[in-house]
Structures are given as structure tokens and as C-alpha cells.
């Protein structure tokens, strides 16, 4: 009997693809954001309000993942920006290869921002790196304030928590402070904003976050290119 030490990631093939996507995003200065949440938390509506708020010359594109149908792509294409549906046919998450395939005929050098809407699922997408600069988790107030404790991996891996559907706060018993406290218990550094995609309250904070993220992303690329690796 021989024991062979392995010490590698289980999803090393996905990681290899994600690393190569991250390199391509960096080379083309494209900020890629991976939006994750349970189904029905309002990712698509948040993206509609986001695209609606961008000037027409904005170099933004969307990849939207679902198990079936092209409906989200149809909803998002109305705003005139490039949108592509990824239909996973039963798979509960997007993986690196699906992103690579979807981007095959898209010129990345014509983009500044790529928004990826993952399949609605609060567990599985957290295991798959897509080469994104950041994951953003959307939690709607109707889902309850304990979600971060029940589904810790997603909140741990996300940089920003968007508490969505705040227009419904007057109808549902949702403890906003407890929700934030629970998210910070899992991920003390997580940023949190409150948004209503319906009334557009809080959309400025979302655009501010995207702008700040873009600036820090570009600043990081500049320091990496101006400081060549020491041999």
C-alpha cells in the first residue's frame, strides 16, 4: 500500500480556466462582477435598473445564467447593451468553461465592465471561481435576516451585500440590523448597501460601489504592471 500526497484543489480544472479568464480581464482592463443570490432575490431587476442608469456610450455587457429559458436576456437586451444568456440545462451554477465559451465571440477590448448574473442558488455558485474581480451577493428582505448564517459560504466569499427590495420592509418582519450583524459575523469586512430596485432607492450607493471597485481594480493593475516581478 502506498499513500501519495496530492495537495491540490479539487476544482483545479475550473481554477485553471478562471485564472486564464482573470488574466484576460486584466489584459483588457475589464472589471468582471459575479452577482450571486437565491432565486427571486431581484438580480435581474437590479441589472435592469443598472443598465437603465448607464449612459448609452458605457462599455458594459451582461452574461446571464439560468437553468432554462432566454427570458432574462430578453429583459436585459432592451437597454441596448450586449447581453448573452447562458442556459446551463440543469446545472445549478455557472463555471469557468461556460464563461469562456460565452466570451468566445465577444471582443473584450471593447468593454470596461462585465456583469455576470449567476444561476439563482445560494450554495453552489460559491464554489466556482469565474475569474471575477468580486462576487456580490443579493439578499432580498423577504428572505429573512438569518440567510447569512444558514448559507455562510456565499456571504463569506462576497465583497458586497446588496440588501434588496427595501420597499417591502413595511410589509415584512425583517430585522435589518440583525441581517447586517449576521453577514458581518460570517464576513467581518463585507460592505453592505440597501437598495430597492423598484423605487430606485439606494441605486446611487450601488453605482458608487461599482465606480470605487473599478478605480481600485485599475489602480491594482497599474501597480502590478509598473512593478515588474523581482527575479
Amino acid at each position: 500500500m502506498t499513500q501519495v500526497p496530492l495537495q491540490s484543489k479539487v476544482l483545479s480544472e475550473n481554477q485553471r480556466i478562471a485564472d486564464s479568464l482573470r488574466e484576460r480581464f486584466a489584459a483588457n482592463q475589464v472589471l468582471c462582477i459575479n452577482l450571486v443570490s437565491s432565486p427571486g432575490s431581484g438580480k435581474t431587476t437590479l441589472l435592469e435598473r443598472t443598465l437603465e442608469g448607464f449612459p448609452p456610450e458605457t462599455r458594459v455587457a451582461v452574461l446571464t445564467g439560468d437553468i432554462q429559458t432566454e427570458r432574462d436576456a430578453e429583459r436585459l437586451a432592451r437597454f441596448g447593451f450586449p447581453v448573452k444568456q447562458i442556459t446551463t440545462g440543469g446545472i445549478c451554477h455557472l463555471d469557468g468553461r461556460m464563461i469562456e465559451r460565452a466570451l468566445a465571440d465577444w471582443p473584450l477590448e471593447q468593454l470596461d465592465l462585465l456583469l455576470v448574473e449567476n444561476v439563482g442558488n445560494l450554495v453552489c455558485p460559491s464554489s466556482y471561481d469565474l475569474g471575477e474581480a468580486a462576487k456580490v451577493v443579493v439578499l432580498s428582505v423577504t428572505e429573512g435576516e438569518e440567510k447569512p448564517l444558514k448559507y455562510p459560504s456565499m456571504f463569506f466569499k462576497s465583497e458586497l451585500l446588496v440588501l434588496n427590495k427595501t420597499d417591502l420592509l413595511k410589509y415584512v418582519p425583517f430585522d435589518m440590523n440583525a441581517a447586517k450583524e449576521n453577514a458581518r459575523k460570517i464576513h467581518p469586512e463585507i460592505e453592505i448597501i440597501e437598495v430597492s430596485s423598484l423605487t430606485r432607492d439606494g441605486m446611487n450607493e450601488w453605482f458608487d460601489w461599482l465606480n470605487r471597485k473599478r478605480h481600485s481594480f485599475l489602480a491594482k493593475l497599474n501597480t502590478e504592471t509598473s512593478q515588474p516581478q523581482q527575479k
Partner: protein, 126 residues
């Protein structure tokens, strides 16, 4: 339920390793799964058991080691396991601690029986 895909990735890794070891038989594959990995050990074991039947390695067992979340204290350097979402350092009570592990989804080891093909059981009687 993405554990089936993860189980397949584990079997792919075993296949890659076994290509380097002709004649050997894998008997046990060890993986480490952190509590923040978002992977359910029971579902993974179930998926693995189903998939392994499709291979030539019916005796191959999956050994899952669950790994807790760890924090490191920025004040005294103590490394500790987090229990009940309590991040305070148990040694010096500092609240200044930082994430130090618990999101692992890693292959740990592979146990193989070398020269499996040379076993007398595989010799055909005339």
C-alpha cells in the same frame, strides 16, 4: 446540489494520478472540506459512491476530513478554531482576528495498491 460535479472532479484527479501508475489500484482518496466551502459531505459521498460504480475501481473509498473555520489573532498570533461564530481570541480575548482557513476544497492523498495486476487472483487458469 453541485456535489455530483465535485465527485466527478475527484475521480478525474484519481484518473490522472493512476495514469502515472500502470498496474496499480486506487483504494482510498482523501479530501479536505472546509465548513465555508459550501459542499455537503453526505451529498458528496453519495455522488461519489454512485459514480465510482461506473469505473474500474469499485473498491475505491472517499475519505472526507471536515475542516473548521480558523482565525489568527492579530494581537498575540494565536491560531484557533471558531466555535459558535465567536471570533474573539480565546488566549488573549482580543477581537482583532483574521481569517486563517476553513474554505478548503482540496485533494489530500491517494492510497494505491501497487502491482495489483500481478495478484494471483487475476491469473487465468488454463
Amino acid at each position: 446540489m453541485h456535489e455530483m460535479g465535485i465527485a466527478q472532479s475527484i475521480l478525474d484527479a484519481v484518473a490522472a494520478e493512476m495514469e502515472k501508475r500502470p498496474g496499480a489500484m486506487p483504494t482510498r482518496i482523501g479530501v479536505r472540506i472546509g465548513e465555508l466551502a459550501g459542499v455537503n459531505p453526505e451529498a458528496l459521498d453519495f455522488g461519489f459512491t454512485a459514480l465510482v460504480l461506473e469505473t474500474d475501481w469499485a473498491a475505491l473509498k472517499l475519505e472526507i476530513t471536515s475542516v473548521p473555520r480558523r482565525q489568527r489573532c492579530l494581537t498575540c498570533g494565536n491560531l484557533f478554531c471558531v466555535r459558535d461564530l465567536e471570533y474573539e481570541c480565546p488566549a488573549c480575548q482580543s477581537s482583532q482576528t483574521t481569517f486563517a482557513g476553513g474554505d478548503e476544497l482540496e485533494l489530500d492523498y491517494l492510497e494505491v495498491e501497487e502491482n495489483h495486476d500481478a495478484s494471483p487472483l487475476t491469473i487465468q487458469s488454463p
